[in-house]
């Protein structure tokens, strides 16, 4: 049942979001503790712990309440009204009815590149953005496919998970980098005066330093990998759900193909927000298609595989309600 999977996915994603925040808070607190220790002594470690806890908590709250605005701002998106883009806003509203959700806010990114993304902390506080290039080059069915894909991200609570990833991963990377520098250039001074003399104390200190360095170097990497593994699986699922919403997998399939053929790099997307978009903003998709390989560092599965899966769905008999399809098609806008 389509609806059952939706609800399972939602609770799974809510758990994941909570787990993610816990892991990141633990990571930050651990970083603070180790850096404090490396800088001086146990007293410093406690201070580092407290500071890191405060920072982690504040950042977690900020990311929960503001991640959508942060993501929109970094992408250079502006909010548009029904009067400016009736065609776009109507399509979004129609799909939100089909998904049984409140309509998300609508944003546009002025660029000839073709891409789209959704963001927010829950369906009540969600937003979608498309590039003006996508609006111009896709017909209504293709636009519906793309927006239905984004609507699935909203319905599945992928948006909450993804947005938290954006802010929290960014934070870990920055934090670790700053600390690493501090340690290399200025750190270690205080240890000579610390109260832990003797053989045993020396060994403990050495192990702590090695562990600490390892942790500092690995944490951005771990954060990055976590971000990637979260998003790739979600894309296939959102594609499938998009087909369920529009009852027309071919719309999204042909939109994805257009995105491949006319791929232009979209520079306003940063590494941190890359996984939000419907197709990967940086790497040349055409190149990826030619090689047929996907790398560990891709945020999205290869487009040709996604199109293949969508086309396989078009064969499903009885998935469409033909008459309703026609009713929508007759509304095709010039």
């Amino acid at each position: 049942m389509a609806t059952t999977t939706f609800y399972e996915e939602i609770s799974k994603n809510k758990w994941k979001s909570a787990l993610l925040v816990s892991v990141f808070i633990a990571l930050i607190v651990g970083l603070g503790f180790i850096v404090g220790y490396l800088l001086g002594s146990w007293e410093w470690a406690i201070i580092g712990l407290i500071i890191a806890t405060v920072i982690a908590t504040i950042m977690a709250f900020l990311s929960y309440y503001n991640s959508d605005k942060i993501a929109m701002a970094t992408a250079g998106a502006r909010q548009v009204t029904r009067e400016e883009y009736p065609y776009y806003v109507n399509t979004v509203e129609g799909l939100s009815i089909a998904a049984g959700l409140p309509p998300p806010r609508t944003y546009i990114i002025d660029t000839p590149a073709m891409n789209a993304f959704a963001t927010g902390r829950d369906p009540e506080h969600s937003a979608v953005a498309v590039t003006s290039g996508l609006l111009e080059q896709c017909n209504r069915l293709e636009l519906e496919g793309v927006l239905a894909h984004e609507m699935s991200h909203i319905k599945n609570y992928d948006i909450r998970l993804m947005c938290m990833v954006v802010v929290l991963v960014g934070m870990v990377v920055i934090f670790a980098e700053v600390m690493l520098r501090m340690f290399i250039f200025g750190g270690g001074r205080g240890r000579r005066d610390s109260g832990m003399g003797g053989e045993a104390g020396g060994w403990v200190a050495l192990v702590m330093i090695i562990l600490g360095l390892l942790f500092l170097i690995l944490s951005p990497l771990i954060a990055q990998l976590l971000q990637l593994s979260i998003s790739r699986k979600r894309e296939y699922l959102a594609d499938a759900n998009s087909a369920m919403l529009t009852r027309y997998p071919e719309g999204l399939a042909s939109a994805l193909e257009k995105l491949t053929v006319k791929a232009k790099p979209f520079n306003r997307a940063s590494k941190a927000t890359a996984h939000l978009f419907i197709v990967q903003p940086f790497r040349k998709e055409a190149k990826q298609k030619a090689s047929g390989k996907s790398s560990m560092w891709d945020t999205h599965p290869p487009i040709d595989k996604r199109v293949e899966r969508l086309r396989a769905m078009s064969g499903l008999e009885g998935m469409y309600n033909q008459a309703q399809m026609e009713a929508r098609l007759s509304g095709e806008s010039p």
């Binding site: 609806t3 009736p86 509203e93 129609g94 089909a98 049984g100 033909q322 008459a323 009713a327 929508r328």
Partner: protein, 187 residues
């Protein structure tokens, strides 16, 4: 002896909890169906509100096409006064047909086609049209998940116990043969 009492007590409590859980889940499902039905009405009402504006705008350019306006207005009144699902569906199909011929007429008036107000109304109407289709789709999806939850064991027993609360819900089907056989649209 008291152990048996405790076991029976625990079983009874668990039973009551699961009945409450299933009952509430079915209520949620049923309310979603009702809400989905209401969504269709909201969109239909929006269409009724748009039609007079559209007719006025087109009249300004093509006043002598009175037959078309009459059809649209008549279909709209039928829709507003319709009783029951079947009559409603029939009236809605009439509105769709009348609007189609209105837009076909508009094709002959280049000035009208360039009118900003007309273009806006045209976009709004085709938007509402697809929203109606989506609302019906969501209604049918909701009915399907309601039915699935209702027919599964052991929920079917609870649905049977409260059969006046968990009534059957009808699927929305398009009755008119002509609409079923609508031609394929190329794009």
């Amino acid at each position: 002896m008291w152990i048996v009492g405790v076991i029976i007590g625990v079983v009874v409590v668990l039973l009551i909890i699961s009945i409450i859980y299933i009952y509430n889940k079915l209520i949620r499902d049923r309310n979603r169906v009702d809400n989905a039905w209401h969504q269709i009405d909201v969109q239909l009402k929006k269409r009724y509100d748009l039609i007079p504006n559209l007719v006025e705008t087109v009249k300004g350019y093509a006043a002598h096409e009175s037959k078309v306006f009459e059809n649209v207005t008549k279909a709209r009144n039928m829709g507003i006064n319709a009783q029951g699902v079947g009559e409603q569906a029939q009236a809605e199909n009439m509105i769709s047909g009348a609007l189609k011929s209105l837009f076909a007429v508009a094709e002959n008036y280049p000035d009208l086609k360039a009118n900003q107000n007309f273009l806006m109304l045209q976009e709004e109407l085709s938007g509402v049209e697809s929203k109606i289709a989506y609302a019906r789709q969501f209604y049918n999806d909701s009915v399907m998940s309601y039915d699935t939850d209702r027919q599964r064991f052991p929920a079917n027993m609870i649905a049977g116990m409260f059969s006046s609360t968990f009534m059957d819900k009808e699927y929305f089907e398009i009755e008119v043969e002509a609409e079923r056989a609508a031609p394929k649209v190329e794009f």
